[in-house]
């Protein structure tokens, strides 16, 4: 009994439920993906799945296409999001809080509901579903993830730095290019990570907004697994994870404050 009390009074013990959860739902699936990816259908070790990815252009093409869509989405989000974040950061704090709320408000609603609403909207406006609708849907869903980290960094920026730059002879444009923009790069990096990575593996938005006409990599993985091709699906997932892992390594080392902007 005494040991029992002791066990529960240690703070470390309190993390056990989560560790258990992580082990079952995060670590184990990852291990399973690793094992499945390197197995042939009969269960023996083989590189067959990876050969198939390289030799069959279909999956690889989808992969490249997905990265392209993710890149376009990220760029549009950055182009739309940076000025928005910049304007927000110049507002009075009370007004800014309200506007930020408005940006975040749609995220309180499930992504599927929002996407179905987008489909209905396109229908209503008699706009064709397809690639354009897909990119619109992606940008619509991921824009807040770009704005918020950039806004956060800009808003925390020391105003005297801007004044110092003006004082030293910088025009408003030079203040922006030489001080404000470089100093907001941790926010930009955060924003890019938070938009680019999830867009690669999206499949629900793609399915709904293109009437299943355009396949993204997420869709391919899902199809394979749905059709019982667990080994090949696992290999595709692993490839995607590695690519995402590489990009995140890239961005992590660039700035220590990169994650400062996360919500």
């Amino acid at each position: 009994m005494n040991n029992f009390v002791k066990f529960f009074s240690r703070r470390r013990s309190w993390s056990l439920p989560y560790i258990l959860f992580m082990a079952i739902f995060v670590v184990m699936p990852l291990v399973l993906i690793m094992i499945y990816a390197f197995q042939a259908k009969d269960g023996s070790f083989s590189m067959e799945n990876f050969h198939r990815f390289i030799n069959q252009p279909e999956a690889a093409n989808t992969f490249i296409y997905s990265i392209g869509i993710a890149l376009i989405t990220t760029i549009i989000c950055l182009v739309l999001g940076y000025p928005a974040a910049y304007i927000l950061s110049r507002l009075k704090p009370s007004t800014a809080r309200l506007v930020v709320m408005l940006f975040i408000l749609p995220m309180w609603i499930n992504v599927l509901v929002r996407t179905l609403a987008t489909v209905a909207l396109f229908d209503f406006l008699r706009l064709p579903l397809g690639e354009g609708a897909l990119i619109f849907g992606m940008v619509y869903n991921f824009l807040p993830f770009m704005i918020y980290p950039i806004y956060n960094v800009l808003q925390k920026m020391d105003g005297s730095l801007i004044e110092a730059a003006e004082d030293l002879g910088a025009t408003p444009r030079q203040v922006f290019t030489r001080v404000v923009f470089p100093l907001s790069s941790p926010g930009i990096v955060s924003g890019i990570m938070m938009v680019f990575m999830p867009t690669i593996s999206t499949f629900a938005i793609a399915e709904l907004l293109t009437m299943n006409n355009i396949k993204l990599f997420g869709t391919t993985i899902q199809e394979n697994i749905n059709n019982g091709m667990w080994h090949y699906g696992a290999a595709l997932s692993l490839i995607m994870l590695i690519i995402i892992g590489i990009t995140s390594l890239f961005t992590d080392s660039s700035e220590d404050g990169a994650n400062e902007g996360l919500i």
Binding site: D158, S160, E163, E166, D167, L168, G169, P182, L183
Partner: protein
């Protein structure tokens, strides 16, 4: 040009923020090559004045000329001034070299020249070989040196310094003061320096501008300001001083502490209420109480490094602060003398409180946004605008702001030897002045009561 030896001319500048007047009709001229210090307590408007010069804010009224050109509407990047900020404001994304070269690169100065000038500026602030260091790895003192180098490398006509040493420790501050003074001499450019530290101002400046509540109180050399303060605020703010209520009996004769003293001031009229200031080092203290001008008993004696600081109580209930190289034990009966030239007589800014009010009925008047009881007034109808006068000592302050009829915050405390003279800012923004024997602290919130008999009401 007539005033070509003035680099900065500020004429009738007023700056309003939405809820208050920060600068009230300020006029000031700065000579070329001068080291001018704007000195005042926090919130007196000194930083705002500096920001108007730098161009970060614009004046609500009035005009600023720098180098003979009107600066109204000229943005900061086009002004011939550079600023050293209190919190350094170095760009964290650049190293030391690029921080200092920032201004020169914008001016498209030749690369080799930038190299030479940055090195020279670094040498000037004693930071040679620090070019490639990350600015965030530097100590506070080193960062401020880089900030100074970054400003002077552009050879501005005027260098603005906003409390540049406030964030440094005492030892570092003293060293930097000397270096700034040397730098000013070597560079020959005009320095406008903002500080709340009177000692710093006295050490560094050619000219000191003392400010309070958005107004210039006095402009003068450090010696002038110290020896001839023009009002009680300046006397109290600069150095230690005994400030006493006094009456100018006639020219060259002033009465305070119930005694008459010879002085050298003239032109105040006869029997005029005045303030006198006597610096603690100007009171001579001797053992022989009989031979002296006045006498008292030493209450406390503290060693201050070079001199002893003593407080002496006189039989009339005044407390005099004295600094002397000799120590007198507490309890000693001592005599004191003051030379006529060391008694500084200042005109009183006011001798009673004056407020504008409205009669509510025969026995109530509205002032400070509240109704105060007063003696029955004849011949003044309800609703009439009136002037309400009352003595400083007629005001009673209470601990609990809700106990008074109105309430306010204590903004300034002046010790007058036998009483405190307080400035109380009431909740609707008026100042009232109170004489009291009670000890209050700055920013205490107090209730305000005025005895009905004390209100002297005249119709406007």
């Amino acid at each position: 040009m007539v005033n070509s030896n003035y680099i900065i001319e500020i004429t009738n500048v007023t700056k309003n923020f939405p809820d208050k007047v920060v600068l009230d009709d300020v006029s000031l001229s700065v000579r070329k090559g001068e080291f001018l210090t704007i000195l005042g307590p926090s919130g007196c408007g000194k930083t705002t004045l500096l920001r108007l010069l730098a161009g970060f804010n614009s004046a609500s009224k009035g005009e600023i000329l720098i180098g003979g050109e009107v600066m109204t509407g000229v943005p900061p990047h086009l002004r011939p001034v550079n600023t050293v900020f209190q919190r350094y404001a170095l760009f964290p994304n650049y190293n030391v070299f690029d921080n200092i070269a920032f201004g020169l690169k914008l001016q498209k100065v030749d690369k080799n020249e930038i190299e030479v000038r940055v090195k020279k500026a670094l040498k000037m602030v004693g930071m040679t070989d620090y070019e490639h260091r990350d600015v965030q790895s530097l100590s506070g003192g080193q960062q401020q040196r880089v900030a100074i180098a970054r400003a002077i490398v552009n050879r501005p006509q005027v260098l603005l310094l906003d409390e540049p040493l406030a964030a440094l420790d005492l030892k570092m501050r003293k060293d930097m003061q000397m270096e700034l003074k040397e730098m000013h001499r070597d560079l020959g450019i005009t320095f406008v320096y903002v500080t709340h530290d009177q000692e710093e101002a006295l050490t560094l400046s050619d000219t000191i501008v003392v400010m309070n509540e958005g107004k210039i109180q006095q402009i003068g050399t450090p010696t002038d300001i110290y020896n001839e303060p023009c009002n009680a605020f300046v006397a109290d703010f600069i150095g230690e001083s005994n400030i006493l209520n006094a009456t100018m009996v006639r020219d060259r004769l002033v009465r305070f502490m119930n005694k008459e003293f010879e002085c050298i001031d003239e032109g105040f009229g006869e029997n005029t209420p005045v303030d006198v200031v006597v610096r603690p080092e100007d009171v001579y203290i001797i053992r022989n109480a009989e031979a002296a001008m006045f006498h008292g008993v030493v209450r406390s004696c503290t060693f201050k490094g070079v001199h002893y600081e003593m407080f002496v109580d006189t039989p009339d209930g005044y407390e005099i602060m004295i600094q002397d190289y000799n120590a007198f034990e507490p309890g000693t009966e001592v005599g004191m003398m003051i030379k006529p030239a060391d008694i500084h007589v200042m005109r009183k800014e006011r001798i009673e409180n004056h407020l504008e009010g409205v009669m509510v009925d025969a026995t109530h008047v509205e002032i400070l946004g509240e109704q105060f009881e007063c003696d029955a007034q004849e011949g003044i109808e309800a609703g009439a605008n009136v002037d309400v006068a009352f003595d400083f000592s007629a005001v009673e302050l209470t601990d609990d702001p809700d106990d008074g009829i109105s309430w306010g915050t204590i903004r300034f405390i002046l010790y007058k030897g036998d009483r405190y003279h307080l400035t109380v800012r009431t909740d609707d923004g008026e100042n009232i002045y109170v004489d009291t024997h009670d000890v209050w602290e700055d920013l205490d919130e107090v209730g305000i009561k005025i005895s009905p008999k004390a209100l002297r009401i005249t119709k406007l």
